[in-house]
């Protein structure tokens, strides 16, 4: 059922796609996607849609009805009679199905869907017949899915009555009890948008405009950007190219309402004849009902704001292995240094006792950690083992941070970047910085006094003594050593950059749709991974190397391995661009933040979305996992940092303070401090230890997802450090807990 664009194939595709919804008992699905759950929640009135016995008869009937309707529209009444008689269709069935207006609740659902069917089938019929003017513009659509989606709006009430229905509902909701009002007010925004889009689709431009003007001011302030986009959409053609809007149509907007409030609403709508609203609610809204206290306005506000409503309860219920992988035991090499000699016993896991020791003292498996073989990971090479030993040594010298001992911050300002600096990354041991620029170059600098060297040319390599001890030094070319190297290759601004953990490779993702792997030994480009055909906004190497992820404008994130030219996993589900992608420390999960204001956590093994976090009111630009793997911090254009508990799938904290978009977040090495950098030229430090300690996750909270956020941002803020007009776009804690920050000076 892939969407194939092409003239002749379309008609068949449309037919196939329409066959599926008609066979769906519920009759509510507007797109024929098998993978998405389509059923309404048990609480809603299960619409007794027309039960079709077999697909063929349903399809044939649809076709017949379409033809009949077409003939009727063209006033060929005699043909209508003849056809009806011959086809043996009962009279009332035809009238019933052919009506576009709102009938009784049950049948309109079916009617609406059939109306949609007939519209698209009409277009097919007219396309086949030459020289006949199609009543709808569906023939000009060359994407079958688009017309499927848009045909959802063929059912129409009287356009003038829309405003009446809406204000009626408004009045009703204003009169309900306070405790219910906040919950029912959630309905306003999706209802408003869907009604507006229906009017636009059915070419009632003036009514749409007046409807918009009258009611757009009532919506919540955080939907302002969406409403502005909507206001520019006044004709049906405008809707066509906007993928995000189309996705909004096909996916159901999820609302979480308590049972009592829902009963109120249902009763009210079914008493009146306002079935138009009821239809929209059934078709486009998914009402997740829970038993319990209705939520307060502040609770609702905290969780809402995303383009798809909130997350369903069961979306966040699957088990997530958020623990860390067991560190491999490394045999220390014979040439130990002094520190090793101090400890008498030659056991591999000797070091000064630390909280989360690398060579774990507990032999048994952490129940929350994935097994070592859950995903294939590359084995450690000797150089990797040496790196790990270095890491262990460095971590013994690490400063313990806390509210009393704040980290020192070293800021790297990029001068003369002319607003062209688009991405920055540090290696884990903080020896190299890479910058991605809008002029499509990637530059690598050495932070330490040691210069950057590339491997000698082949001819020179033959001259060296291969048996000498320092052969690894000799293969490096001294003549071309320099502080920085420039890598050319991309054909568009470089938006994402990531070093590999073993410092041999550098990844860069760009607006030209490719991700390039550069070798840091030869400073040349090795591979170009093509897959996204649209700008790739972010990329990151896995903490264990070998895998990397990328997310872009095509609304998916992809998992790649360096030795496969095609992605291994595709994480599809977001409604808008994927702007930020991060690996979990155990490499088994991937978090993606998107312009649709949600964060999703994906399982690498099977590509499923295991968590959906809503609550941000703007596109998300920064994500950070805590070092223990349990928590996720996210920052967005709304200037807030939100903290999420991955295991339970709920929001646990909100840090307010920044005034502009937050572009970078980083936890300190032991997770005690969270640093955030933003466009408002400041770096702020937050006490994450305290933020996570104060959790009271009782069962009720976990099951219903109610959150009780404390407004303690001020207490958690440990310090604000302003730069001289330099937005902070990257943060990095060195192994000894010194904070490095990077940004481009912007006078």
């Amino acid at each position: 059922m892939a969407a194939v664009q092409g003239g002749l194939v379309d008609s068949e595709e449309e037919k196939d796609i329409k066959a599926d919804p008609s066979s769906d008992v519920c009759g509510n699905s507007n797109n024929a996607n098998d993978a998405k759950p389509v059923s309404n929640s048990p609480g809603t009135n299960a619409p007794p849609g027309p039960v079709k016995t077999s697909v063929e008869t349903a399809e044939e009937q649809q076709t017949l009805l379409a033809v009949l309707q077409f003939l009727r529209k063209n006033n060929l009444s005699e043909s209508v009679e003849i056809l009806r008689r011959e086809a043996g269709l009962p009279e009332d069935l035809l009238d019933h199905k052919g009506s576009d207006g709102p009938g009784s609740g049950a049948s309109t659902v079916g009617g609406g869907l059939d109306g949609g069917d007939t519209t698209t089938l009409l277009s097919r019929v007219t396309a086949a017949a030459s020289g006949v003017q199609a009543p709808t513009k569906a023939t000009s659509d060359d994407q079958p899915d688009v017309s499927v989606v848009l045909s959802a709006y063929s059912q129409q009430g009287d356009p003038n009555l829309y405003a009446v229905y809406y204000s009626d509902l408004k009045k009703f909701i204003e009169t309900v009890l306070d405790c219910h009002r906040a919950e029912l007010s959630q309905v306003f925004y999706p209802l408003f948008v869907h009604m507006y889009l229906e009017l636009v689709y059915n070419n009632h431009e003036n009514e749409a405009k007046s409807f918009f003007q009258r009611f757009s001011g009532d919506q919540e302030c955080y939907y302002e950007n969406d409403l502005r986009v909507l206001s520019s959409l006044t004709k049906r053609e405008h809707m066509r190219g906007n993928e995000t809007l189309l996705d909004f149509r096909t996916s159901k907007f999820v609302l979480r309402i308590s049972r009592d409030s829902y009963q109120l609403l249902k009763r009210h709508l079914q008493e009146r004849q306002n079935n138009q609203i009821w239809n929209i609610i059934q078709e486009h809204l998914y009402i997740d009902i829970f038993d319990g206290m209705p939520r307060s306005k502040s609770q609702i506000d905290a969780m809402s704001g995303s383009l798809a409503g909130e997350a369903k309860r069961d979306a966040n219920k699957s088990k997530v292995y958020y623990g860390l992988l067991k560190e491999p035991e490394i045999e220390l090499p014979l040439d130990d240094e002094d520190e090793e000699a101090e400890n008498e016993e030659g056991k591999p896991k000797k070091k000064k006792p630390k909280k989360d020791s690398l060579g774990s003292k507990s032999k048994k498996q952490d129940p929350n950690a994935p097994t070592q073989t859950r995903i294939p990971l590359p084995e450690l090479k000797d150089s990797d083992k040496l790196d790990k030993i270095m890491y262990m040594k460095e971590s013994t010298k690490r400063i313990r941070l806390g509210p009393e001992t704040l980290p020192s911050i070293c800021f790297y300002s990029f001068l003369n970047a002319y607003q062209g600096l688009t991405a920055v990354d540090f290696t884990d041991d903080s020896s190299l910085i890479a910058g991605g620029f809008a002029d499509s170059t990637v530059r690598v600098w050495s932070v330490t006094p040691k210069k950057l060297r590339k491997v000698k040319s082949a001819a020179d390599l033959n001259l060296i003594d291969k048996e000498s001890d320092d052969v690894l030094e000799r293969i490096m070319d001294e003549k071309t050593a320099s502080e920085s190297k420039i890598l050319y290759g991309h054909s568009g601004p470089v938006y994402g950059i990531s070093f590999s953990p073993d410092r041999n490779y550098l990844l860069s993702s760009s607006e030209d749709g490719t991700i390039r792997l550069w070798s840091l030994l030869t400073f040349t480009c090795l591979v170009g991974y093509k897959g996204h055909n649209y700008p790739v906004w972010d990329t990151q190497f896995s903490p264990h190397g070998y895998y990397f992820i990328s997310g872009g404008h095509d609304r998916v994130a992809r998992l790649w391995a360096t030795d496969h030219y095609q992605p291994l996993r595709i994480f599809a589900g977001h409604l808008a661009d994927v702007t930020c992608t991060r690996f979990h420390p155990n490499s088994n999960y991937v978090a993606t933040g998107s312009s649709d204001r949600t964060i999703r956590l994906w399982d690498v093994v099977n590509g499923n979305c295991v968590r959906i976090f809503t609550g941000h009111k703007g596109p998300i630009h920064a994500l950070a996992f805590s070092p223990n793997g349990k928590f996720l911090a996210s920052g967005a254009t709304d200037g807030r940092v939100l903290l999420w508990d991955i295991g339970h799938g709920i929001m646990v904290g909100e840090l307010k303070g920044h005034t502009e978009t937050i572009y970078s977040l980083r936890f300190s090495r032991d997770g005690e401090i969270l640093a955030s950098g933003s466009m408002d030229n400041t770096v702020r430090l937050w006490d994450s230890m305290k933020a996570f300690d104060d959790l009271e996750t009782d069962d009720f909270t976990a099951t219903t997802g109610h959150i009780h956020l404390q407004d303690n941002s001020q207490e958690l803020l440990l310090g604000t450090y302003t730069t001289k007009s330099t937005p902070v776009i990257h943060l990095h804690f060195t192994r000894r807990n010194l904070l490095l920050a990077a940004g481009a000076y912007n006078p």
Binding site: E379, R555, Y565
Partner: protein, 239 residues
């Protein structure tokens, strides 16, 4: 500072459009960029429409032509990402295959060579050398590709290395390069020129060296070509 007396009407319209779309803060150059884009877009559409209308043998350009032009241009330049259900379907198929096992380390983990960018993507033209002792030899164009590689090395062959820049026979050039250049691998070099010896270095580097050779050592190669193949160490030093 002299402000312009009046802003052109088009720019005023553009400012109004930006205001209507809710954009309040923008740099002044944005107006110019938007105007340029508008001009380019509109002229492209109108030109396309003119082509379509002449194709349909109409005397004037009418709305249908414009619509067709817009549609074609949309499909070409302003494509939008694939629709969601398509992506979900593709993702479902892709995610069904289990993650491949990782082979033990056998060098950098890269895709097969044809998907990498590590192959040479250029061929060098050798530079015509000016002063050559045995100039007479130059004129013998040993062009035939196959011949070079299969024939045992003869003195004359070596001589034509740097001289004739017949790019049309790249293989011959490179084969010749090998004979001149890579002494170390040629333990058996005197016998065959086709010793494309298993060159352990990347081809791109070879190219560089070639340039060096032909640039600087052209004179050498001419006279010493005879000796070169027999005496590897000399060549070695020359480099």
């Amino acid at each position: 500072m002299s402000a312009p007396k009046t802003i052109p009407k088009d720019a005023q319209v553009m400012m109004q459009i930006l205001k209507d779309m809710g954009i309040t803060e923008y740099e002044p150059r944005v107006i110019n960029q938007m105007l340029e884009f508008t001009y380019r877009y509109v002229t492209t559409i109108i030109e396309d429409a003119k082509i379509y209308s002449t194709h349909a043998k109409k005397s004037t350009v009418d709305a249908d032509d414009i619509k067709l032009a817009i549609q074609c241009r949309m499909d070409q330049s302003f494509t939008s990402p694939p629709p969601r259900d398509f992506l979900l379907e593709v993702a479902r198929q892709k995610n069904q295959t289990p993650l491949p096992l990782i082979k033990p380390y056998t060098g950098p983990r890269l895709p097969p060579d044809r998907y990498c960018l590590t192959a040479p993507n250029y061929r060098l033209k050798t530079v015509h050398k000016k002063v050559l002792p045995s100039a007479g030899r130059i004129s013998v164009p040993r062009l035939s590709v196959g011949a070079v590689s299969s024939r045992p090395s003869t003195p004359t062959q070596g001589s034509s290395v740097p001289s004739v820049s017949k790019v049309s026979a790249p293989v011959s050039l490179s084969a010749q390069r090998f004979t001149v250049q890579i002494p170390s691998a040629q333990s058996h070099a005197p016998k065959t020129t086709s010793a494309t010896p298993p060159v352990l270095m990347s081809s791109s580097l070879i190219g560089q060296k070639t340039l060096l050779m032909t640039g600087g050592g052209g004179a050498l190669s001419q006279s010493d070509s005879l000796k070169r193949k027999h005496d590897d160490s000399e060549d070695y030093d020359a480099m």
